[in-house]
């Protein structure tokens, strides 16, 4: 089973209820334990509300913990203390004219968690069975672990589609096009590289030692790293998008001058699974 101890940050809201149902489904799917965390004052009233919520969803055998203070900090603490291996949280979102706003708590968790994280945007259609898995890889050891975990997950879900994405990018390509004098040349260079990467993808896959590699689609996309794969998953209606956690926790400058992982967490359209290995 990919995960044994699931954590869920729970709130009293319609989204909270949906999240709980989803977490309970995954608990069953993985045959795992589920531990809930509620950040807020522990009172008789709130305890009752939580109990009702759990009863409402007809879930049994869950452990409940309480914490106070800054929600992000409390969640990160909770992960450590309860040795959670998959933290589930909702991405609070408000619909703004141009783009979705992901809650700052969710973002902090995505950046700094010490375990894998599943972030689910609160939108109808985000919950339930994941049939279309999209996974991005950079061929590192880390990303082959990610691929294995994602594949295990997909098998449990009986997924219909499993796509492995590799990004390529040539900074300064436009410059070189000028000097060689033709856009055709640039296209050729891109194509050539794409073919090479396709071969690499297939070898990467065959080294994975998983059954049915034919069921996995491989695709090579051109664009800024982080952004290209994320948009590809979005355009192809991914049910769940899987990435590896960044090696280093993104800092202030990484956020301002967006790159890689930051592109992914700034545009969450489907549930996002960040795998830490």
């Amino acid at each position: 089973m990919p995960y044994k101890r699931l954590g869920l940050a729970i709130t009293f809201s319609p989204t909270g209820k949906n999240l709980l149902i989803e977490a309970a489904r995954l608990k069953k799917l993985f045959n795992a334990e589920l531990i809930l965390l509620h950040v807020g004052e522990k009172s008789e009233e709130s305890e009752d509300r939580l109990k009702n919520l759990i009863d409402d969803c007809s879930i049994s055998g869950v452990e409940i913990t309480w914490a106070k203070g800054d929600p992000a900090k409390a969640i990160l603490n909770f992960e450590k203390k309860k040795s959670i291996d998959l933290m589930i949280a909702g991405a609070l979102e408000k619909e703004k004219p141009i783009k979705y706003y992901i809650g700052s708590v969710a973002r902090k968790i995505m950046r700094s968690s010490n375990c894998s994280v599943l972030i689910i945007p609160a939108r109808s259609g985000s919950f339930g069975y994941y049939k279309r898995f999209f996974v991005t890889t950079d061929f590192s050891q880390r990303s082959s672990e990610t691929m294995k975990k994602a594949y295990e997950f997909a098998k449990l879900e009986n997924a219909e589609k499993f796509v492995l994405i590799r990004e390529i990018n040539i900074p300064g390509l436009a410059f070189s096009v000028d000097d060689t004098g033709s856009t055709r040349n640039a296209e050729m260079i891109k194509k050539e590289w794409e073919i090479e990467e396709k071969i690499k993808l297939n070898i990467f896959l065959s080294e994975m030692n998983i059954q049915n590699t034919e069921a996995v689609e491989t695709v090579c996309v051109y664009g800024k790293s982080g952004w290209a794969a994320t948009s590809f998953a979005k355009e192809n209606d991914a049910d769940i998008f899987v990435v590896s956690a960044p090696v280093k926790t993104p800092k202030f400058f990484d956020r301002v001058f967006t790159h890689d992982f930051e592109y992914t967490i700034k545009q969450i359209h489907s549930p996002l699974l960040i795998i830490k290995s």
Binding site: S176, D178, D179, I199, K224, F257
Partner: protein, 560 residues
């Protein structure tokens, strides 16, 4: 009434026609010989200018390209506009995300690679200003300028070199690119500050104001302006015609930036550059749009600017061998030592560091723009300017061969280096098992590896999934306790069944053993072999060899 008379209009149009036509013609010619088009365009200017045409037909030259009068003003305005747009596209390619992605190595190379040449140039100019034809004004500012002029790399030339050498896919290539982007950004800010120091009085702003406003403008554009543009671009893309709308938007913004910085008291081009950086960062600016604006600017505006350089200066008169030698030596030594050191400190191997140094040594457009502005400001004399142009030409022409030399030496474990004639043999085995045993025996004899264990590892991998690829190629492989990768090849003209997807029997069988902890290296080597055998004819042709050396030669030839 203002405006040009009909006769002047004709002269102006004639001048532009010659600049554009002749410049582009020589540019294309240089491209044919695999040189940067810029070099050809500069030479076209030297031919049309006082250096050659002026020497042969001084009156004709003066009539077409007058130094004074309305025609001259019109040409200069056009050139000024060209530089603004040129800097816009240079800025577009600076991607700060990539700089951060590459992290400390890029910052170290970029920064140390600027500081060292800056110190070389500035201290030399301060101690021996006369050698570099310092005439009047502030010696300190002159020294600062010389330092900056030697410290800036040319992103476009570097991008092209990496592309030519197929290095852009490697870690080293990406680091070089990121370092060059960082270098560009810091270099331009530094240069603008120096210009602020020089031109402060003429703009009516005090030096403190000019510098503070420059910094405020830069920070504002890089942090907020960039985000704002990112928000606006999708709207522009969906509301206006493509690519017309977005291109006009970019050019108008560049002009606004130029106006602001000119008003502040630094040069107008700085604003265009920063606007370029701010726009280029957005993912909403597609590669296609970038290519279009590049084509349009580098084929129309850039040639006008490069040709105009030759029109301003007499290269023979202003040629001073000593100044040229000093500038070239200081420039090369400063960059190669600085960037090389920056790379070495970050754990690059010596050869890699030198490759980084020589790649970053390439100079181009920016250096020339810098020089011409300094010349116009009276900061430097023509002799020093000519020396800079020669440094540009030399460093950009030499960049590719030198980088190629050092990078080839250092490229870690290409399959070509692993393949030794003693590890290639002709096999007559009849089964997959048999050929694997032969190969394992061969490498174990030569490399002192535990034979039974290795055999077990290879066979175990084979059990998981066949290693038969296609086009008569199979690559049985395993990770094993070895210090460096080992490779052997069996050539089997009859073929053995490897259960390859295309059902063809394997006739060329590579055995590849890689260190246990090197996942990516294994992938790289495997794919390197597989990529070579993409072409079935090539694989079949390889079977005609009769000696291991011949086999090696054919594989190597395919590489070039």
């Amino acid at each position: 009434m203002g405006g040009l008379s009909s006769a002047d209009t004709i002269r102006l149009l004639l001048a532009i026609t010659l600049m554009l036509g002749f410049g582009r013609l020589l540019g294309e010619l240089f491209r044919k010989f695999k040189q940067a088009a810029v070099v050809g365009e500069i030479i076209a200017g030297i031919i049309l200018g006082p250096t050659i045409l002026g020497l042969l037909f001084p009156e004709l030259q003066q009539w077409i390209f007058p130094v004074e009068g309305p025609v001259s003003i019109a040409i200069n305005s056009l050139v000024a506009l060209s530089i603004i747009f040129l800097l816009l596209v240079v800025g577009l390619e600076v991607d700060l995300g990539i700089v951060l992605q590459q992290g400390k190595a890029a910052l170290s190379i970029g920064l140390i690679g600027m500081i060292v040449p800056f110190i070389f140039g500035a201290s030399f100019a301060y101690l021996l200003p006369d050698v570099l034809f310092f005439e009047m004004g502030d010696k300190l500012i002159f020294s600062l300028f010389v330092g900056t002029a030697l410290a800036i790399s040319a992103l476009p030339i570097i991008a092209r070199t990496l592309m030519d050498l197929n290095l852009f896919k490697s870690k080293t290539g990406m680091t070089i690119m990121a370092a060059a982007m960082f270098n560009d950004l810091v270099g331009w800010i530094a240069f603008s500050v120096i210009l602020g120091l020089v031109g402060a009085e003429s703009h009516g702003l005090s030096i403190e104001w000019t510098i503070s406003l420059t910094i405020i403008f830069t920070i504002f554009m890089l942090f907020f302006g960039r985000k704002l543009i990112h928000q606006i671009l999708p709207w522009i893309n969906s509301t206006f015609s493509w690519p017309g709308g977005i291109i006009s938007f970019m050019m108008v913004l560049a002009l606004i930036g130029a106006i602001i910085t000119e008003k502040i008291g630094v040069h107008s081009i700085f604003g265009a550059f920063i606007i370029g950086v701010a726009i280029g960062d957005s993912v909403h600016l597609t590669e296609k749009t970038k290519e279009i604006i590049h084509q349009f600017i580098t084929n129309i505006f850039a040639p006008l600017f490069f040709v105009s350089i030759g029109l301003k200066v007499n290269f023979i008169q202003a040629f001073d061998p000593l100044a040229v030698i000093i500038v070239v030596v200081l420039g090369f030594a400063g960059k190669v030592i600085g960037c090389g050191l920056g790379a070495k400190l970050m754990g690059f191997k010596l050869k890699d560091s030198l490759a980084v140094g020589f790649a970053m040594n390439a100079r181009g457009v920016l250096e020339i723009v810098l020089g011409i502005i300094a010349l116009e400001f009276g900061l430097i004399g023509e002799e020093f300017f000519v020396a800079i142009i020669i440094l540009v030409l030399l460093s950009s022409v030499l960049s590719s061969p030198l980088v190629s030399y050092f990078a080839k030496e250092s490229r870690s474990y290409s399959i070509l280096e692993l393949l030794l004639p003693k590890n290639i043999y002709f096999s007559s085995a009849e089964t997959k098992d048999q050929v694997i045993r032969e190969l394992v025996k061969l490498v174990c004899k030569k490399e002192q590896i535990d034979e039974p264990k290795l055999l077990e590892a290879v066979l175990k991998r084979e059990e998981q999934m066949t290693t038969g690829i296609a086009n008569h190629l199979a690559i049985p492989h395993a990770k094993f306790d070895v210090a460096k990768p080992v490779c052997a090849v069996a050539i089997n003209k009859n073929g053995v069944d490897f259960d390859a997807p295309d059902k063809l029997p394997a006739k060329i069988i590579f055995l590849l053993i890689t260190p246990t902890d090197k996942n990516e290296l294994q992938l790289q080597l495997l794919s390197e072999i597989a990529v070579k055998f993409r072409n079935k004819e090539f694989a079949e042709d390889l079977l005609n060899v009769s000696k291991p050396d011949e086999f090696l030669m054919k594989i190597k030839q395919l590489n070039s």
